[in-house]
Every structure is written in C-alpha cells, then in structure tokens.
Subunit: 134 residues, 2 copies
C-alpha cells in the first residue's frame, strides 16, 4: 500500500521558493528562473503541473488576468515550517510540539542571537503571566 504523501515535494518547494522572492509570477517566469534561461515548452508544462498540485494543496493562489495566469505564494516559509513540525510531532510525539522544543533547546547548537531571542520570549511570557493575562 502507498505511504503518506509528502505535503510539499522538492520540485514544488523549488517553485515556492521563487514565489517567496516576488509578488507575482507567470508559469513562464517560474520556468525561466528554475530551469535556466532557455525554458522549453516542456519546462513550462512541468512548472504548471507543480503549480496545479500546489494549488490543490492551497499553497499558492492564482489570479487569472490578461493572457497568462499570475501565481503567488499563499503560504510563507514559516507556514511550511509549521506544517513540517506538526507532522513530525504527530508521527513521533502524539501531536505534542513540546518534545521538539526540548530537543532544539538541548541538542541544537544555538548561537548568542538565538539565546537572546529565547530570553526575550521568556521575559515576555513572564510579564504576561504577571499581568494575569492568559
């Protein structure tokens, strides 16, 4: 039997990456950017298929103006990160994200900036709690 489909495949991700760098893009724009300068008709078709699948997943939006559709990203990188983290949590931690956080804090080599960001967050959280909010 099949397995769980990847939410976003590598080729799809390549398309998304380009879309994250601009407001809009046509299929041709994307094909040019991804498959070098001389993007044949087949490259365009490939990109279009990827866009179709991304559309079905709700990760890109399409604006059908003029002659060629214009595609834009409907999910940013952070949203993708969230999906992957949640998927990992679902498979390995019964859906809880806390073990991931623990792992990152314990195992990952964090630099000073990361730690500073954490400190800031913890302070914010402490302040919130002090005020009795949430």
């Amino acid at each position: 039997m099949g397995r769980t489909p990847k939410d976003v495949t590598d080729a799809e991700l390549a398309v998304l990456r380009v879309l994250w760098g601009r407001e809009d893009a046509t299929v041709r724009d994307l094909a040019d950017e991804i498959y070098g300068g001389e993007s044949g008709a087949s490259s365009s078709a490939t990109v279009q298929k990827l866009l179709e699948r991304l559309l079905a997943k709700g990760l890109v939006a399409r604006r059908t103006g003029g002659r060629a559709h214009r595609y834009s990203a409907a999910a940013d990188r952070d949203a993708l990160i969230g999906r992957r983290l949640q998927e990992t949590a679902d498979k390995l931690c019964e859906g809880s994200l806390a073990p991931l956080l623990t792992h990152l804090v314990n195992e990952a080599r964090l630099d000073a900036d990361d730690i500073a960001a954490l400190e800031a967050f913890v302070e914010r959280a402490a302040k919130r709690r002090q005020k009795g909010r949430r």
Copy 2:
C-alpha cells in the same frame, strides 16, 4: 525522477515504536504486536523486511543469539526527532535550526511546563555565559 527517500517510513516507525517499549524483540514478537494476534508467516516476513531496512539505516541493532535474532532500537525517539528537524531545516532554512525554534516559540501554544523548561534553559545559558565557559 525519484524524490528524496523518507528517512523512516510509517511502517518502519511502527516497528521502532514497539522496540522503544522493550529491551529486545524477535521478528515474531514484533509481528504479533503490530499485526494483531494471529501473525501469519507473511507478517513476519514483512516485519523482517522492515527490520532489514532499519538495520541498513543504522536505526536498530541485531543480536544473533539462539535460534531467532533479537532486535533492539539503536536510535531513540529524540534521535529521530533530531533527524526530522534537521531535514526540515535543510529544506526550508538552509540548514539552520534557529527558524524552527523561533516558530515554536512564536506560534506553538506552549503550556506552563514548556515555558518553565525554557526559563530554566535560558537561566542555565546565562550562567554559562557569565562564567565565561564555552
């Protein structure tokens, strides 16, 4: 062209999960646990194939004693979490884990325990820095 193989597939994960719950297990033990009571000869073969692939990935260890091999987990859940997180970071963040941490802190609904753990970590980190170690 093919895609990047999943480091651990769902069926393999089911095997690992059982192994995490005990010290040792034979193929039959695992088949019984995973495929209900009456594990036919085919279930055993399936489990064995999965173990073979896990072995190739270095995720289980085999001790060849007596009549049946005994398998044990060579990677715990946290190691798997680390793999997945790094893979996500590689694909979405040029290998940096920091954005994942940021996401968890900003987006995930952390409960009091999680925040307490974070506080403890930050304090530890501050102390380390103060002592000039590391």
